[in-house]
Symmetry: C2
Subunit: 362 residues, 2 copies
Amino acid sequence: MMKTLQVALGDRSYPIHIGENLLSESDLFTAHIRGKEVLIVTNETVAPLYLDTVKTALNDYRLESVILPDGEQYKTLDIMQLIFDRLLEARLSRQVTIIALGGGVIGDMAGFAAACYQRGVPFIQVPTTLLSQVDSSVGGKTAVNHPLGKNMIGAFYQPQCVLADTDTLKTLDDRQFSSGLAEVIKYGLINDAEFFDWLEQNMSLLVSRDPAALAQAIARSCQDKATIVADDEREQGVRALLNLGHTFGHAIETGSGYGNCLHGEAIAIGMVMAADLSQRMGWLSTEKVTRISNIMIAANLPVTVPDKLSSADFMNLMAVDKKVQDGLIRLVLLKDIGQAIISDNYDGDALAETLAKFTAEN
Amino acid sequence: MMKTLQVALGDRSYPIHIGENLLSESDLFTAHIRGKEVLIVTNETVAPLYLDTVKTALNDYRLESVILPDGEQYKTLDIMQLIFDRLLEARLSRQVTIIALGGGVIGDMAGFAAACYQRGVPFIQVPTTLLSQVDSSVGGKTAVNHPLGKNMIGAFYQPQCVLADTDTLKTLDDRQFSSGLAEVIKYGLINDAEFFDWLEQNMSLLVSRDPAALAQAIARSCQDKATIVADDEREQGVRALLNLGHTFGHAIETGSGYGNCLHGEAIAIGMVMAADLSQRMGWLSTEKVTRISNIMIAANLPVTVPDKLSSADFMNLMAVDKKVQDGLIRLVLLKDIGQAIISDNYDGDALAETLAKFTAEN
């Protein structure tokens, strides 16, 4: 049973297909490939598992592939050069379609490369992790990291379609899987309290990777995100809500060194910190903060700051985060479960208390 | 007397101001700067001449600058990293405005960096060469080179405005100046026969850098280009006419090594080659081919292929040029002076004869 959602973005609209065994469905690919040339971008972990399946589905095309090293620490302009090298060495024209086969890092880099190659060629997202299926493959944000900040160099660039094959989740390791659950929980917190309740009820099914529960959670997450993105493609307003947990989270990722803390783990902690700050502002009850912390724990996610990050480290790292306007740190906070807001009108002392609490033992 | 043209691109429309002493006109800048932060991107040749003037005009802003090495050989992703490094080290936010102060290379790199930094920040083009004033600052094409092809990595990204200060042309060396005249002549050849006639009459004035003649030529060139770009921003159709001389020219630039042959010099030769092929197709008279060659010579431009490029080199280099669709080389050719066409329907033998003629002594 394949579910299909549509991301409504005018002439950049595209479908998201969610279901089992999609990688071998040639028609799902070919409906979105205009020319005769295809470059598959994947990594050394995913390639042995799924590259041949996709190649078989596309054997009518002139196929090239590039296999990148696996990990957030490789999401750089230097590694992206390997994609351009392959495109040029293989003399692929501006009619080429790029297929991103992998997790969020592959999607971000292959998508950004597609945005830039000959000033823009089409691409298809084939996310193979839970995180990328519910988050990075929806919405057209592509980027690479800079040593001084995550996702600082990139483009808004929409794919032709997204194929989320739930079979690929079977091979995910537990940390990667839980990291994806953090983004799923995020949608409930932002604007979908009903979904948050459902997640509390079904977390043990999800953690055991029950296929039906997973398909439902992925579809609901994509729908929630697609709705927000359709309202605000270029993040002028409500789209910034999707950054719930991300300002704290990016600081945690950067401060602990790319690759040491998974993205979903970092934003899980970031969401708990945002809840703590929201509670200090009198917006969230202690009971709701506990529910938020508990659902993270149920999803096998961390809720404490790792390593030796200090309050000063946080302030320093958050100031270069891109959710800053003219020097003022804007945060996504919670008025309630299911009601996130963008605020630069919180109490600075409360922020200091939150940072002090979470870094007390560091 | 400042002339102002408008490039009509819907909500991405912008003005081009052409005149003397524009660099010190604060108002021309501030009308197009939204935040409080400005990064000026320039190079080691232009900085000593004009950086202080622009800084003085902008002394109400938080100003940062980055000075890149000068030359087409530095138009690479690696050098563009220096722009990102400066942006991040200076903690400039997504409210920053980037000012490109220099020739086409600076405009292409600063514009592409603006397109990518935090997925897009505004930028202002301040072209200081004739070539960039009439060509690269109009139309929103930004890019860097790859060792295997020119402008292979880039974005379509429009500036907030273009300030073409004709005073800056006084400091141009003769080769750079003539290189700009090649693009001016190109507009006459593409679709403006009246302008071509005017250029034939006024070439000696232009070569002597007569201010009034220059202002007229720049404004007419920008107008011709702006009209074509407004019809076809993303080069799906008529915009490709602007590549007259460029397929041959890019092969000459790449084959002779970036930096050895200036862009305008290479496309001057490329236009003469396109005229030769058009004559072999029976479209252009011998007399018109001679007029085209003569106007290049009058502008102090080369009309013969430099170095040791062979016909095989040309075929090899042209095949990766981006004006290729599914393996077939498309060329911009001339039905007449002032009537360029995009064609993949010419005689392959005639192309071979043109290449043989122009590479006979190599």
